[in-house]
Amino acid sequence: MDSIRHWMLGPQGSAHANDVDVLYMFLVWLSVFFFALIVFLTVYFAWKYRRTKEGVLTPNISHNLALELLWSVIPLIIVMGIFFWGFNDYVRASVAPNDAIEIHVTAKKWLWTFEYADGTRTIGNLHVPVNRPVRLILTSEDVLHDFYIPSMRQKNDVIPGRFVELTFTPTVAGRHQVFCAEYCGKSHSDMMANLFVDSPEVYQKWLEEGDPELQTMPPVEVGKMVYENKGCNSCHSIDGSRNTGPSFKGLYGRVEKFTDGSSITVDENYIMESINNPQAKIVAGYEPVMPTFQGLLRTPELRGIIAYIKELK
């Protein structure tokens, strides 16, 4: 029995997936029963009453109220039961518990971006801890997409200009497939993502250190990614032009004058301080508007952004 279920529905990733599968398999067997009934009656009547003689008259059986009520009321009762069953599972699976981890998901042709509460952003890879409810808050930057995790039996359209949510509680660690299920053009069928369900330790380690790629990537490239993904680029230029904050171009080794009259030659410690405690020293001519990034950057990312700034001569 379970092998039939597995063949039809694939792996399960949550308790809700099992609920859906139980109803699905109930419907399969119900359908098999009624289909067998239809086939049997059709074949039996057609063959038993096959024409053996031309031009015969047949009995006038116009209707039978009891019989017709029977095959109206029985299906009605069955489908009402199925309605409540499906509705009940749906409602339970739609409501996120209070302790759910919230992750923002942004869809755009043709990739998925994930953003965590600590500012971590990833593209195409979603990491979540096992056995913790997850609440995804999704939006699209262009057309309709649909975030579909078959193993969680969950999907929802992702709509531009609106947030929708999708909840699941993964119980099976490992990689799970994510598809885009709403047609979105040329690379719709390649708009996939990986859902990694990690043990709590692995998840914590991932949150602190990021993707393993981060460890092997040259620090300058990590820094460039941080510069583009964490919002540095909205205030600091890399070509020397003036913006809300000083440009990164030629910053390392430069002598900066501050509003209190002091000055310093920019080094690693100054950059680190400016990221973690930006109000400590304000460069003359700029407003004190930068928010702190204390705790939002991992050590390799901090190292990366420093290496990147050093590179921008």
């Binding site: 529905l9 008259l57 017709e68 109206s72 649909d146 929802n156």
Partner: protein, 548 residues
């Protein structure tokens, strides 16, 4: 009293009296200016069969491309256009007009004992509108094509390249053809029933077509308005559906399905209507539960207007809305079950013959069974969330649209072919072809249920290797299906080259269209038939019932 038959002689039209409609007037002009419902029905028939061929070629291309993941024969852009055109052609240019505009146009007035439809010129006009829509659609195909899917979901459809505005305009124009046909049939059924024919003396086909016509008249204008809004947004940048312009993309889906769900019943009800004719005729038996079947058609038509939200369980509509739509949707199951059991029980103590039309009707019972039962999966919200936009849905609606409606259409085509063209086709070839279509269809679409429940999304050009075996099975099925259709085209065309050999009533039916010559004369009947009794009185000897 109910059994008496009287006849009123029609006088003053002696010149038309003995010429069949095919020979009453020669040359292209006599066809293009005809107001004879039979000729218009035949013109519709060739038009929609051409479109069926075109849509079928696109279907074969889709299946061929899916033989392997990534590129097999075409690029992703081409594939997206091909599946869009397959859907748009099959829905708007083939299935919707197939039974009503082609077959019912021909047989409905005959069944009612009428000389024509209520508005013959409007009938011809609707064909011209159809042709105009078809040409605009073809123009859209050759001037860039369309890659939105037949559903034209916004904001993709308002931002993509290609001839989207032209294609939606084609659907807009075709809608008017559909509305006019509907209006015509409603008026015809109300006013042109033969003397003595009450509503419950009509063949059930007329009930099915009546229910369909009501939906055509009431729902199609909504599609027209929606498509017009889409064209306005796309062409003039008026913000209605695109959030960048201040619009709401989900609103488009509400509008679209408000028409397109009832449209599903525009497609299936006529199929059911045909089955209600074929089964009593080939069982030589009174239909079981006449009123239940008639009222089921009307009930399905009414309920069809308030279930559109079941296409949108994952669209972001409120959970309450989803729950209500799911609840109402299940009520469609009941009239469908009633009809199915009534058809089956009609054979009980009958005299069942297995000619080609009956083989199609029996195929219908099985395929509609699968199509209907898998609909229950999709009605249950929690299961639908998983199955929505996967191949399960693709398989389900092909079982209903093709396995049921198209199979019923083919049954109707084989049933009325001798009446329409006065010729019998090769029965053995027809049986072989029916069997191939049945086997090919199931081989194509049964694997798609499993593809879908395993998570394979629809409209995918590329797919994961684990899905390849089932895709290949499906593609092989499409070849068997194609072969079945080739054989069918062969023997049907071959029959047209014969001289006329069909008797007036080859299947010994009791309904009125068989009580006149094959093919019928231009005015259908020499004498206006007057009716007593029901259309399926197979318990009385011929001549003692309603028809001499």
């Amino acid at each position: 009293m109910a059994d008496t038959i009287t006849a009123t002689h029609i006088s003053g039209h002696a010149d038309h009296h003995d010429v069949d409609y095919l020979h009453d007037g020669k040359g292209l002009k006599s066809w293009l200016t005809t107001v004879d419902h039979k000729r218009i029905g035949v013109m519709y028939l060739w038009s929609i069969l051409f479109m069926f061929f075109l849509g079928g070629v696109f279907a074969m291309l889709i299946r061929l491309e899916l033989l392997t993941p990534k590129q097999t024969i075409m690029s992703a852009e081409t594939y997206n256009k091909v599946f869009t055109l397959h859907g748009a052609i099959m829905v708007f240019l083939f299935i919707i007009p197939s039974v009503p505009a082609a077959l019912a146009n021909f047989v409905l007035p005959l069944m009612l004992g009428a000389k024509d439809v209520a508005f013959p010129k409007l009938n011809l006009f609707s064909w011209y509108i159809y042709m105009a829509g078809a040409f605009i659609a073809i123009a859209a195909m050759v001037t860039g094509g369309v890659d939105t899917g037949w559903t034209f979901y916004t904001p993709y459809s308002t931002t993509t390249d290609g001839s989207v505005a032209l294609m939606t305009f084609a659907a807009f124009v075709l809608g008017f053809s559909s509305i006019l046909t509907g209006v015509n049939f409603v008026a015809t059924i109300h006013n042109l029933r033969a003397p003595g024919m009450g509503w419950f003396d009509m063949p059930l086909f007329c009930w099915g077509i009546y229910s369909t016509a009501l939906i055509q008249v009431l729902a199609t204008p909504v599609l027209a308005i929606t498509l017009l809004l889409l064209i306005m947004e796309r062409t003039f940048g008026i913000g209605i559906f695109d959030p960048k312009l201040g619009g709401d993309p989900v609103l488009f889906q509400h509008f679209f399905w408000f028409y397109s769900h009832p449209a599903v019943y525009i497609m299936i009800l006529p199929g059911m209507a045909i089955i209600s004719e074929i089964i009593p005729t080939f069982s030589q038996k009174t239909i079981f539960g006449y009123r239940a079947i008639a009222f089921s058609s009307v009930a399905i038509a009414l309920v069809s207007f308030i279930v559109w939200g079941h296409h949108m369980f994952t669209s972001g509509q409120s959970q309450l809305a989803s729950a209500i739509f799911s609840f109402i949707t299940f009520f469609v199951a009941v009239p469908s079950a009633i009809k199915t059991f009534n058809w089956i029980v009609t054979m009980y103590k009958g005299s069942v013959a297995f000619n080609a039309p009956m083989l199609y009707a029996l195929s219908f019972l099985l395929l509609f069974g699968i199509g209907g039962l898998t609909g229950i999966f999709l009605g249950a919200v929690s299961v639908d969330i998983h199955l929505h936009d996967t191949y399960f849905v693709v398989a389900h609606f092909h079982y209903v649209m093709m396995g049921s409606t198209v199979i019923a259409f083919l049954g109707g085509l084989h049933y009325w072919w001798p009446k329409m063209f006065g010729r019998m086709y090769n029965e053995s070839a027809a049986r072989v072809s029916c069997a191939l279509v049945f086997i090919g269809f199931n081989t194509t679409f049964l694997p798609q249920f499993v593809l879908g429940s395993r998570g394979m999304p629809r409209r995918y050009y590329n797919y994961l290797p684990e899905f390849q075996f089932l895709h290949q099975l499906s593609t092989v099925g499409s070849w068997i299906l194609g072969l079945g259709f080739l054989i069918m085209a062969g023997y049907l065309f071959a029959s047209l080259r014969k001289k006329m050999d069909a008797p007036a009533n080859p299947w010994h039916s009791r309904t009125l269209e068989w009580q006149t010559a094959s093919p019928p004369i231009t005015h259908n009947f020499h004498e206006i038939p007057t009716i007593g009794g029901g259309p399926y009185d197979y318990y009385r000897p011929v001549g003692k019932g309603r028809n001499a």
